[in-house]
């Protein structure tokens, strides 16, 4: 079989058979090419929309939930309603210990602060953060770095600021890193500057980030936690995690299990799921349309081979009179089918890729692109290619069978 595949004669025969039906073969190839082309372009475009959506959401981890403490609304275990609750660092440890499927549990503090640099001032949101925050909600750093573990341990007076804040506090062209700014009368060294995504958490002005431990110390928050961001590992249901966390917190803080007001939460995952549901639907549709077109194209190839076989009946008869075994006739036709589908597939993938590049170059550029990185994963391409070859083989079996089902004597009689 290997020898057969690498035999010059094998390919010469395919070449001459194709050459005899140039136009028809060409049109058929276009049929299959169109199928895989559609698949690649639509999947790429869908991916582009998804990427764009992910980018718009400011690199938020999409399976995350925010939890904060409020006041109780039900009396429980001797406490009256209206009891104020404060989250503590120990709550986080308990959550990490008790609940499965967590990726990050990140405590945060938040406040308003007056920032001063020489004669320029402004009031901004200030956050106490751990380095992990950067992983959950990616800070797009322009200069410098985000808060690191060392800052946390040594409670360093360092800050990371948003670009808008830089514009308000610094002169144009001034390099912010290494400079000191005064926040609520304490000097902080600026170690990083980032650019906010389109949907951020700090409002239009952006915000200042300082080490969480520094925040606790400076603003006298003791062991408390303002609120926390929890992200789930892939495959774990964030809504379930949200419920589990709140129940655990109620338990820890002696709150009535049915008290819905004691802890507030915002499930980003749930909001995003609505949009991703739509995207998934779109991808499904893409697959459906692409594969259906692909199958139609492959059938066209089977059809043309059937016609070719019909036209070559006599030739096949001659070959068999000269000693061609049925299998030798069959494999030739199957290979022809696989060859045509593969060529068409390769052309389709290449042209699809080119169109995606054009889409990227036109729609994917600028401040507000309609699509971001329209791409198709390599495994998808491989699956599509394998599907093509398999379908090509299967469809080739039909004309191949037809070719050898005619008795050589009848084939020879054919005019």
């Amino acid at each position: 079989m290997i020898k057969f595949l690498f035999d010059t004669d094998t390919w010469q025969e395919i070449y001459s058979s194709i050459r005899k039906n140039k136009i028809r073969t060409g049109i058929t190839i276009i049929g299959v090419m169109w199928g895989i082309f559609l698949l690649v372009v639509l999947l790429g475009a869908a991916k582009g929309v998804e990427n764009n959506f992910n980018r718009l959401f400011g690199d938020f981890a999409t399976n995350s939930v925010f939890v904060w403490a409020q006041q109780t609304s039900k009396p429980f275990k001797g406490f009256q309603e209206g009891k104020g609750i404060t989250l503590k660092m120990s709550d986080l440890d308990n959550i990490k210990k008790e609940i499965k499927g967590l990726e990050f549990v990140i405590p945060r503090h938040q406040n308003q602060a007056l920032a001063v640099n020489k004669f320029k001032t402004g009031t901004f949101g200030i956050f106490g953060d751990y380095p992990e925050f950067d992983k959950v909600q990616k800070r797009n750093l322009v200069y410098g770095r985000f808060i690191n573990d060392n800052d946390i341990i040594e409670k360093k007076k360092v800050c990371v600021i948003e670009e808008e804040i830089y514009k308000q506090l610094f002169d144009k062209g001034e390099f912010p890193i290494g400079q000191y700014i005064k926040i609520d009368n304490i000097n902080y060294n600026v170690v990083g500057m980032y650019k906010e995504g389109q949907i951020g958490s700090g409002g239009p002005q952006g915000s200042i980030h300082i080490p969480f431990t520094t925040f606790q110390q400076v603003y006298n928050r003791g062991d408390s936690v303002g609120w926390m961001m929890i992200t789930g590992q892939p495959g774990f249901d964030i809504t379930q995690i949200e419920a589990d966390v709140k129940l655990l917190l109620k338990n820890l803080h002696k709150v009535h299990p049915e008290d819905e007001r004691a802890f507030g939460s915002f499930n980003l995952g749930k909001e995003i799921a609505k949009v991703t549901g739509f995207l998934t639907g779109m991808q499904f549709l893409t697959w459906f349309v692409g594969i259906a077109t692909l199958i139609a194209g492959v059938f066209a190839i089977g059809n043309i081979l059937l016609i070719t076989v019909k036209e070559r009946t006599k030739e096949i008869g001659i070959r068999r009179a000269l000693g061609a075994k049925p299998w030798e006739i069959k494999r030739q036709i199957i290979l022809e089918s696989v060859f045509l589908t593969s060529i068409a597939g390769a052309l389709g993938i290449i042209s699809g890729g080119v169109v995606l590049m054009i889409i990227d170059a036109t729609l994917g550029q600028g401040e507000e692109p309609a699509l971001t990185n329209p791409t198709v994963d390599i495994p998808v391409i491989i699956i599509a290619a394998i599907t093509l070859v398999v379908l090509g083989t299967l469809i080739g079996l039909i004309p191949a069978h037809k070719a050898v089902s005619i008795r050589p004597i009848e084939a020879l009689r054919e005019e």
Binding site: I318, A321, L322, V404, P408, I409
Partner: protein, 230 residues
């Protein structure tokens, strides 16, 4: 070489059967030059197809090269055809997109011979039929006589036991007919068994033995008494 005993063959036509061969007995020895004569419908083509393993028979026995032919599947038939039989057809049946050389080499391809070797062998046989200089020509660039000579070279290339020629001169004019028959005679002189089917008396007269067929039975089987002339 070819031995046929009480061979029957019928074809279904609608609900009825057309009885084409009605118990033929025929024995052709190695090295013979035999022609089967008969008008159309006499069953001569059917006989050739059965002898050529292109068609099966109903009852009776057929021995090819001493081997009883029965229960052949297509694969076995293909191997036997390739090994023992060389075909020459009325309409030449060359593959029109292959050069003369490639056409001649084709049976060797199905034997699994390497390209270089089979082209070498094919060229020898083309030389034998006097067409060495036409090796690279396509069938469409050859005259009828040349085409038939290419077909004969193709039939010979596997060095078979029997050459089966079905109206080999049917599509040729009298001059080329003569040259093709001369070629077949020459092949026969070298020891090849040649089995010709024809309806032309002239052509049959060139052979050594004429078997006449009518309505599916052999009506005469005689030697041609003119060999001394050749």
């Amino acid at each position: 070489m070819i031995r046929i005993e009480k061979l029957h063959k019928s074809y279904p036509i609608g609900k009825d059967f057309l009885h084409v061969l009605k118990g033929l007995d025929l024995h052709i020895k190695e090295g013979e030059f035999v022609s089967i004569m008969g008008s159309s419908g006499s069953g001569k083509s059917t006989l050739l197809n059965i002898v050529g393993l292109l068609d099966g028979h109903d009852t009776g026995k057929y021995y090819l090269n001493g081997q009883l032919i029965e229960n052949l599947d297509e694969k076995k038939a293909a191997i036997l055809r390739n090994k023992f039989l060389g075909f020459v057809f009325q309409s030449f049946n060359l593959i029109n997109y292959k050069s003369a050389l490639e056409n001649v080499a084709l049976p060797l391809y199905y034997q699994g011979m390497a390209r270089k070797d089979r082209n070498k062998v094919a060229l020898q046989y083309l030389d034998k039929v006097g067409l060495k200089d036409r090796a690279e020509h396509l069938p469409s660039e050859l005259s009828g006589g040349e085409k038939q000579r290419v077909a004969i070279a193709r039939a010979l290339v596997t060095n078979p036991k029997v050459i089966l020629a079905d109206e080999p001169t049917g599509a040729l004019d009298s001059t080329t007919t003569h040259s093709v028959m001369e070629l077949l005679k020459e092949i026969n002189r070298e020891g090849m068994t040649v089995f010709v089917i024809t309806h032309e008396e002239d052509v049959a007269g060139e052979t050594d033995r004429i078997v006449r067929l009518k309505d599916g039975v052999i009506i005469s089987d005689e030697r041609v008494q003119k060999k001394a002339k050749v």
